[in-house]
């Protein structure tokens, strides 16, 4: 082997090794992306796997059918009709999901009704009227609020807020949908605010200048020009906040009273879907109908939040496209 040949051999070998290395790293990076995709699929498959018997297993159907989960039943007497009962641990287990749906809806409604106007107003103030230093202070404050663990908010609602609200408003029950809803509002406020603030901030300055030049007052500009332009984004915040509120567990588990009552009364204790899973799964017999029903509830939560998040992302996209190409 001549010197030239040996040198060529080494260089080719080196570059081959380099290329192989290149390919291995690239493969690993793409693998990571595939892992990210497979995680969401795995969640669906492995929650679904334990939920499936609710749909197809005859053994489960002996104790609970789909009809019993969703449709009115005749549990009471003819004088006192009881149509929807969640009582999975009893001699004759009853699995109506209706009280849980209603409970979730009530708490979520309270939270959204409080958080939405507050977050939107605060976002308007931040983007349109706040001086620079204040704007830079508000953001970390909201990030701090977002950083409070939900178990701490639940604790606060249970120990402090519940007592205070009962004294103030004279509720019959210390823990109820309103108290839990107020605490839940604190949990969804940051996401609502952040998305709304992003959307408002993305509205081009020329919109505001045009409105002001036409003689609109600052508030008119904010309310009738900037806010409508950013509406898809603001709405996305509401949708995402809603998804967060439905799935939030520790706050409602601690502060809602956890009684599965079917009524529209807001000042009564409620039991939500998420809190039901959290409270009951630890004590349930593995593979029992109750166990599968709890996973079925989890699958419902997963599906609902999936749709909400997807919608939210769509709305943000739409806003981006709407405002794209406009001179800042």
């Amino acid at each position: 082997m001549t010197i030239v040949e040996a040198a060529t051999f080494r260089i080719v070998g080196h570059s081959l090794r380099r290329q192989a290395m290149e390919l291995v790293v690239q493969a690993l990076i793409y693998l990571a992306a595939l892992v990210a995709i497979s995680l969401i699929l795995l969640i669906f498959v492995f929650v679904g796997r334990q939920a499936l018997p609710v749909l197809i297993s005859p053994a489960v159907h002996e104790e609970v059918t789909l009809g019993e989960l969703f449709l009115p039943q005749e549990y009471g007497t003819s004088e006192v009709p009881l149509r929807y009962v969640w009582q999975p641990v009893s001699v004759d287990p009853k699995y109506s999901l209706m009280p849980l749906f209603l409970g979730t809806l009530k708490v979520t409604l309270v939270a959204m009704l409080l958080a939405t106007p507050l977050a939107i107003l605060a976002a308007i103030y931040t983007t349109e009227f706040a001086p620079g230093w204040l704007r830079e202070t508000i953001k970390p404050v909201v990030e701090m609020l977002a950083g409070i663990p939900s178990v701490v908010l639940g604790f606060f609602a249970l120990i402090v807020l519940a007592t205070w609200m009962q004294e103030r408003f004279g509720f019959d029950y210390r823990l109820n949908a309103i108290t839990a809803g107020v605490a839940l509002a604190l949990a969804v406020l940051p996401i609502l605010y952040t998305v709304a603030e992003d959307a408002l901030g993305a509205v081009p300055r020329s919109y505001r200048q045009a409105a002001l030049a036409l003689g609109a007052s600052p508030w008119q500009t904010a309310w009738t020009v900037v806010l409508p332009s950013a509406l898809p984004g603001v709405f996305a915040g509401v949708v995402l906040g809603f998804g967060r509120a439905i799935g939030e567990t520790m706050i409602v588990l601690m502060a809602s009273g956890n009684a599965a009552i079917t009524s529209w009364e807001f000042a009564e204790p409620v039991r939500t879907l998420s809190a039901t899973i959290a409270a009951e799964l630890a004590e349930v017999v593995f593979g029992s109908p109750h166990y599968h029903v709890l996973f079925f509830i989890g699958l419902l939560l997963f599906a609902v939040t999936f749709v909400l998040n997807w919608t939210g992302a769509r709305l943000v996209d739409r806003l981006r496209r709407r405002l794209a190409g406009v001179e800042r």
Binding site: I29, A32, A33, L39, I148, P149, V152, M250
Partner: protein, 299 residues
């Protein structure tokens, strides 16, 4: 009222909304600090619970939380960094893989925490753990039960989007010219990514890790069924041991204590410890990020 006055009052109203948010945060933090400050002592931080949790300390819970987030970090940071590198450096924006991965990460961020608990139980504990027992322990129950390893993995899945978002933002803020210069010098893509771009984005990796730890330390719902224990006489030593955790400890003290009044002061102190921990972590992350933006060394 004149138009001008009306205008003013609306602006004032929106300002009040901000004030209300700040006040609520102040009330919560103030209340916890006020009541939680006094019971905190060295004994409280370093001792184990005694007398049905009405006395003693929370050291096992602190230890369990730290161990949990450390394990979680080992899993989540490398994976999160790789996905972020994929998004920022490798992906073709038009490809189905990019769009699917993006969608998956977005959706992962919105999955309710309790569903992660179900997933951890169904996948890690029963499926993976059960398989490990079958293969290596002759079916003896070893890993097929709630354990700190499964809790850490579950938490890693939950915090993955946090890491990805933060690292990707940092990668994107590295100027394109850095990459071009690297390529011009004959570096390959791998060399460019790992020796030029990633070192520049290190602060982003750090921020992502810190935010993930902060989130992981605060979440309770995902670990309810995958390893958190009510009370343990010993600290976890093996990966398949159960563990005590601060957030779970708060939940237990607040809801299942036979005598709430007796545990109240320790409960407040525990909340203060958890709150201080998460705030400190968040504050660090915010500061790093803010400094990055101000110095603009990367842009």
């Amino acid at each position: 009222m004149s138009l001008r006055g009306l205008d003013r009052s609306f602006i004032l109203l929106s300002g009040l909304a901000v004030l209300l948010i700040v006040t609520m945060l102040a009330i919560i933090v103030g209340n916890v600090v006020w009541h939680g400050w006094e019971p905190i002592s060295w004994e409280f931080l370093s001792g184990a619970p005694r007398m049905g949790m009405t006395e003693g300390g929370i050291f096992p819970a602190i230890f369990g939380t730290v161990l949990l987030v450390l394990l979680m970090t080992i899993f989540v940071v490398p994976l999160g960094v790789c996905v972020a590198i994929y998004f920022s450096e490798y992906a073709n924006r038009q490809s189905w893989l990019y769009r699917w991965t993006r969608q998956a990460v977005n959706n992962l961020a919105g999955v309710p925490s309790i569903v992660f608990g179900l997933f951890g139980l169904g996948f890690f504990v029963q499926f993976v753990g059960g398989w490990v027992d079958q293969q290596f322990y002759e079916g003896k129950l070893t890993y097929g039960q709630p354990a700190i390893l499964w809790a850490a993995l579950t938490m890693a899945v939950l915090t993955l989007p946090v890491v990805i978002v933060s690292v990707e933002e940092a990668l994107r803020s590295v100027p394109q010219s850095y990459r071009e210069a690297s390529y011009a010098l004959g570096a390959t893509r791998t060399q460019t990514v790992f020796r030029v771009v990633l070192p520049q984005a290190l602060a982003g990796v750090l921020t992502g890790g810190i935010l993930a730890v902060s989130r992981g330390a605060g979440e309770v719902a995902p670990i309810l069924f995958v390893g958190a224990a009510y009370y343990l006489p010993e600290l976890p030593k093996r990966l398949n041991d159960q563990f005590m955790e601060l957030g779970y400890h708060i939940y237990v003290l607040a809801t299942q204590s036979p005598d709430v009044e007796a545990t109240k002061s320790l409960l407040y102190a525990t909340v203060l410890v958890l709150l201080a921990l998460t705030f400190l972590l968040n504050l660090t992350a915010i500061t790093i990020r803010a400094r990055l933006r101000v110095t603009g060394g990367l842009r």
